[in-house]
């Protein structure tokens, strides 16, 4: 392979690689894995990825039937396997988060809107099943005033029995570009981030920036 003789072509190559869908998928997958809460579903990206996977499958099929070198075919296959793993793992991670925070999600329209249509359906069923399960095993055995699933008793003013994601945990993150001094939540300290600097910060103070794609979680 041609070696990147000048720094210029290297950078171009880097830039090109970092915008392919697989690379983007890897990023959203990593973010999803590391973030304590569920992030916005990447509808367009997932759709494109699935299209490409299908295309790859067809290519491999064609290659193996037209007798192209098995090594080439197996390289393609490996590439395909990796992409499929990323996709599946991404979707799985999301389902697990939905399961964990279903009551929080179903009571919170803003969070709910981060889910895909199919995930919304799954979340709804998940919540209903869990409600029925709790109802049958615990709540029906309790006195009337204590039967609510979200509140400890009828005198609780707000929902005080909903497991919520812990947004103030620490995450390891990396900035994608230079970020000017910005204020951290709950402190007067200003923070400046250079590209590729590793930081350990409270998730909630960089939450928006993760969503905007300015900061990546590691």
């Amino acid at each position: 392979m041609a070696s990147g003789s000048t720094a210029g072509t290297d950078d171009d190559y880097e830039a090109l690689i970092s915008t392919t869908d697989v690379e983007l998928l890897k990023r959203v997958w990593r973010n999803e894995k590391a973030a304590p809460e569920i992030l916005r579903f990447e509808t367009a990206l997932i759709q494109r990825t699935r299209g490409q996977i299908q295309l790859m499958e067809e290519t491999i099929e064609e290659f193996s039937s037209s007798g192209i070198d098995p090594l080439t075919v197996s390289l393609y296959q490996m590439d395909l396997d990796r992409t499929q793993y990323l996709l599946r793992s991404y979707l799985r991670t999301r389902l697990q988060k939905i399961g964990k925070y279903m009551f929080h999600i179903s009571n919170n329209p803003e969070v709910q809107n981060r889910l895909s249509e199919q995930e919304k359906g799954f979340a709804k069923r998940c919540t209903e099943d869990m409600e029925r399960h709790l109802e049958e095993s615990v709540l029906s055995k309790l006195p009337d005033n204590y039967r609510d699933i979200l509140k400890q008793s009828i005198i609780s003013e707000e929902n005080d029995m909903v497991p919520e994601p812990q947004l103030d945990t620490f995450v390891v993150c990396k900035s994608r570009r230079f970020l000017g001094p910005f204020q951290l939540d709950g402190s007067d300290e200003l923070l400046e981030m250079k590209p590729d600097d590793l930081c350990i910060i409270h998730y909630k103070s960089i939450k928006e920036r993760v969503q905007e794609g300015e900061i990546d979680l590691v």
């Binding site: 396997d81 979707l91 029925r132 049958e136 095993s137 055995k141 008793s153 029995m161």
Partner: protein
């Protein structure tokens, strides 16, 4: 002492190995639920007493009020413990779907109580529905792939299997070099093991 049984129940959960299900202690569970009803009865009788004395329930701060408060708080705490017990078990059950698949082996099945079995079944149908709407099977590819082919040993007689227009005889203890995607389904069912090293 109030709340001790509920505490035991939750301790059982906490001392169990992480991600492992212990047999459902429905005996203790029912005792705690009964304790809740008892608290409720006493709570009501205390409130009635306050009312009979002609005092306002909202503002009275006498011995009876604090007695009632203790019963209320004990009840709420018991409820939290009971719900936590069921909820955390349900969480483990949810993780089982990914670890062992939609059908539970009998040794795990016997640790669930009836409603939990129901819950597991409903959950796997919900997951199936999601996957079929998406037209993608999410239960394969559980570990990042390293190599498209892996070496496996057959643990149980599977017989002759057709894959990629080849038939292979998976006899017990025989070893094969297979496509990872083909082997995965057998591995998750415990019929093959991957040879590493």
């Amino acid at each position: 002492m109030y709340g001790r049984k509920a505490c035991q129940l939750v301790k059982e959960l906490a001392s169990a190995e992480k991600g492992q299900l212990t047999p459902c202690n429905s005996d203790l569970f029912d005792q705690v639920a009964a304790e809740c009803s008892q608290h409720h009865l006493e709570l009501q009788s205390l409130i009635r007493k306050i009312q009979e004395e002609g005092l306002d329930v909202q503002t009275t701060r006498n011995a009876d009020h604090y007695g009632a408060l203790i019963h209320h708080l004990s009840l709420v705490r018991n409820k939290r413990c009971l719900v936590a017990y069921v909820y955390n078990r349900a969480e483990i059950i949810r993780s089982l779907i990914w670890k062992v698949g939609p059908v539970l082996p009998p040794e795990i099945q016997e640790k669930l109580n009836h409603t939990e079995e129901d819950y597991f079944k409903k959950l796997s149908t919900a997951l199936q529905a999601y996957m079929s709407r998406l037209d993608l099977d999410l239960t394969v590819d559980m570990v990042p792939p390293k190599d498209p082919y892996i070496q496996v040993r057959v643990l149980d007689d599977i017989g002759v299997v057709l894959s990629d227009d080849k038939t292979t005889n998976f006899a017990r203890h025989s070893m094969h070099f297979l496509k990872r995607t083909d082997a995965e389904q057998f591995i998750s069912r415990g019929l093959m093991e991957e040879l590493t090293g």
